[in-house]
Subunit: 327 residues, 4 copies
């Protein structure tokens, strides 16, 4: 039984706690920390409450750490886990700066084994897995283009143009690298007319263009206030055909003159099974002693690409992405 400590008891942390306690085999939630102790208590069940994340990490009863606290705290906590030699699953971003991500990559490389996994849960989504399986099996030949859309029904205030990239497009950055097994080498960001639902001065929607080491062009629509639902689209165009991410199954209804099906309201519903499978794979990996899933390096690259996107957004230019040499 892997004893898991959870840092951060907000919405994401609470979801993870519930998943760990009801749907993951071989793990137990033994401790929770949050800046708000009452919030920690609400999700801890029979686990201990720590006032302080560092105390949770140091707790000898904690085998592994799940980080779902606010983004600025990630680097510090991940480094502490590495220091303590404990496996850690950190929600994205791995760190809020490229340098922070690199420090983590280096700290882990200095150790004898892999400990860090980044929370890019889409890699566990059945749809993406099936898409990759078919792509790798040659169903459409060599990929040439990818068209993506990432639409939220809404996100709460305050939010900024930059967040669309660091919180939202970052998922496409990771999934496209994973699907194609290619690096992203250049980025551009375009925005046109903003939706009336966007806060003043916020560019929503945006279109991000990614270019890969293999010459694949990727366009990503990012739309945080698309109103109608949470909708993730991905079509890979290859030399012999195209492959699409399937929409989640939902009962077709015919009523009121329409043939329709529900669109997921948000990412929690859309990716519920992916979150479960991510945690199960993390726990299984620990039990078997072989870490899988997105690495610290993946977290670093995602950070470097999104940072380039932010600069491209500012400058209006197409910018090359420069990565550190991988150790």
């Amino acid at each position: 039984m892997v004893k898991v400590g959870l840092i951060g008891a907000g919405a994401m942390g609470a979801t993870h706690a519930r998943t760990l306690e009801t749907a993951v085999r071989g793990a137990e939630l033994v401790a929770v920390s949050d800046i708000d102790t009452a919030r920690a208590a609400a999700v801890a069940g029979t686990g201990r409450i720590h006032n302080d994340a560092q105390a949770l990490i140091a707790d000898p009863d904690v085998d592994a750490v799940l980080i779902a606290s606010s983004a600025e705290t990630h680097e510090e906590h991940v480094l502490a886990c590495l220091e303590a030699g404990k496996p850690v699953l950190c929600e994205k971003p791995l760190a809020t700066t490229v340098e922070g991500c690199r420090r983590i990559v280096e700290a882990e490389a200095a150790r004898d084994r892999r400990l860090v996994q980044v929370g890019f849960m889409r890699r566990y989504d059945h749809g993406y897995l099936e898409l990759k399986r078919l792509l790798d099996g040659g169903a459409i030949g060599t990929p040439l283009l990818v068209h993506c859309a990432h639409r939220n029904a809404d996100i709460p205030l305050p939010f900024t143009t930059e967040q669309a990239i660091t919180d939202s497009v970052v998922h496409e950055v990771d999934i496209v690298r994973w699907l194609l097994e290619q690096e992203i080498t250049a980025v551009s960001v375009l925005a046109g007319r903003a939706s009336r639902h966007a806060p003043d001065g916020v560019r929503d929607p945006q279109v991000v263009l990614l270019e890969t080491s293999g010459g694949v062009l990727v366009d990503v629509e990012s739309f945080l206030r698309a109103q109608y639902g949470y909708d993730i689209r991905c079509e890979v165009v290859g030399e012999e055909g195209t492959l699409e991410l399937p929409a989640p199954a939902a009962p077709p209804i015919r009523s009121d003159g329409r043939h329709s099906r529900a669109v997921a309201p948000g990412f929690e519903v859309r990716f519920a099974q992916a979150y479960r499978d991510e945690l199960q794979a993390w726990v299984d990996g620990m039990r078997l002693g072989r870490a899988t899933g997105p690495t610290a390096w993946d977290g670093y690259v995602a950070g470097a690409v999104t940072e380039a996107c932010l600069r491209a957004l500012d400058s209006g230019e197409r910018l090359a992405v420069r990565l550190a040499r991988r150790a």
Copy 2:
């Protein structure tokens, strides 16, 4: 230029008149008759008005007759056309009794050439044509079952349980014979709970079971007040796979939490192109001197099968269909 006379200027007749005048090549509407002269005048354009259908049929300027008057008048008008030696396209039913249909078949057989076409317009629908083409091409092997649904959003009062069979299921009777090129040999009719939208005492929906000479079982849902729209479904199950009638193309909309497309409101919209192509084929056939399309015999068989359905409805029994020997 084929000069067409139209009998009946109600909804169906008005639609045919408009189609003839705007979308059919090689035909001209030269005369209209209706019991309501004002109604006739409203659709006649530059054509003559006849008070009396027999006068229209006799009119030397009328080359061919289109019958869209009420069902009880069909037999008389078709027989008069045969008498006059004029090609006639008659809306279904060919006659309101099996004997009436037979009289027409025999009257036509006594002449030297084919003159009668029955208005089973579905045979001209692109979806059905494509389905038949694929079926005939062996896409699913030998057919074994057919599942049909015939749903109207609503139909005006008064209507009866019997009408569902004579006006609605009759289309499936014809299209299944045409698709399979097999005769219907036995019928059963079932009804369960009636919809709250059905008039008192009317069994709506019903399920009609047809058995064919080739051993194919056909189930037909007939639902006159299905509320949500006009929806025609047909799936043929074969030894190697299944084939479905496609839903008409309509733009997918994502809004308000739903991914949807419109369902046609009624048969006029759903089969608009089929009605046009039916008239064009009728006109082309006359110009080329070779009649095609559903024959008087098809009209007779449809009558015989629906009449058996009416008896099966009464008796609750499975009944064999008996057909006259084809001349």
Copy 3:
């Protein structure tokens, strides 16, 4: 940790063993019995092997029993579990005779608590659950008709016309009762032309008609050698619209002139998640002391309805279903 003993290490048993050991939280496979000891050993992992199912049931280290042995053994094993006071999840059928099912219902009723669950896994399928949620929420008003199809790509020899009903249609019998919360009161069975892929003398496909206490008509196509894949269809027609079971999500591919998606090859893939969720719910129920899921009574009714179907098949008649009074 619920300690589970498994009876039967064939294909279904092996799948359950793997699911228990990799994907279910709170359970452990501690013992396996099979008439073929080597087969038992192959799936037992660290669990004990019993030569004899009765010994497994009696094993004090076994908290609960999962029965996946051949159908004829079910009754004996379930009764032994009841005798031993141990919760049991029994694959369908509960027993091979209606009387056998009744004996189980009565034996359980004589005890102070519910112990028996029947393996109708579809009730745990996300698609059916969502369909029921929408139906219960009034999305289409009162249900009037249900159209079902149950198609296997193929099933191994030998198989009989009867098996299509006892092994295949039985799932529709249960799911329709569960969806509608109505009893089945009458049945008819029709068969037409048999597929060339059916063994000599076997009627495949068949159409089974069910009528419910609420007047709902249900038609079920059963097709064991449909060739193209495993395909389960269900459309509920209500007073205000219709609801359909969604097809499982699969990536759309465009290639070779076609836009397509894969159909599941068999029930193991189609219902993999349902089997997992069934076991998890069974285990969770035991831990919480409240049994949920299909009951012995559900198993009995399924047996009574399929037995009526078999008689209807023989007689060609519509037959009423008679149920014992529920204790």
Copy 4:
């Protein structure tokens, strides 16, 4: 009866001739000219053959001219039609240079009435018409983005990178202007890895980015050798939802483990009905004395935008589109 003369009896011309003679009401093909007289004779039916396009235009028996000859001849023929005061429907492009298009616009403006229509047939496609109707009706609020794909299965050699823009993307340029009722103000062209099916040195696929006067961003995938079929996609993203061009209806087939439908093999099939409706509308417009459809100005703008795309392709820059002042 409008007497039509056809210039150019290649594939497109032959299709138009057949359509005129079989499916358009109120028109007659009276003359054909082609540099290859035999080819002209093959499509002319009972019409006259002219060796020379100018002779056809001058033919007093020709009321209106349909130009389907090679692109370089369009300007000369259209100007001759204007000179002769005859209505002309010219396949795109209106002329091969922006200046040529302008000369036509000016020559027509100097006359008292409109005579020129450009063959952007998509404006007559039911799918696009329905999409526009819904968009104009406010179904998704103000449009913000448009995603397009224009895929051919294959096109014959020789072909160039430039042709993808002048022959293919030009349709998207026109349809987006028509859909949005906005001008295109800037363009960029990107290309990544070329398909192995592209001729040496040809960039296929490409991605063209269009920006409109209303701030809408439009991305267009152009892929001339997409192999799998002819596929036209268009999704408009608005403030409240999205609208998509429907795929043409085709019977769903389930066979060989797949649920599929055919993709159109080429534009002739995909837009067959649009070509017919385009000709019918052109003929109806002449009979009623009111020209509708894409104007010379639309042809000029399409030319100016594609010319900017060609420069953007060369330079790798985002370029503004400059239009003449509309007279």
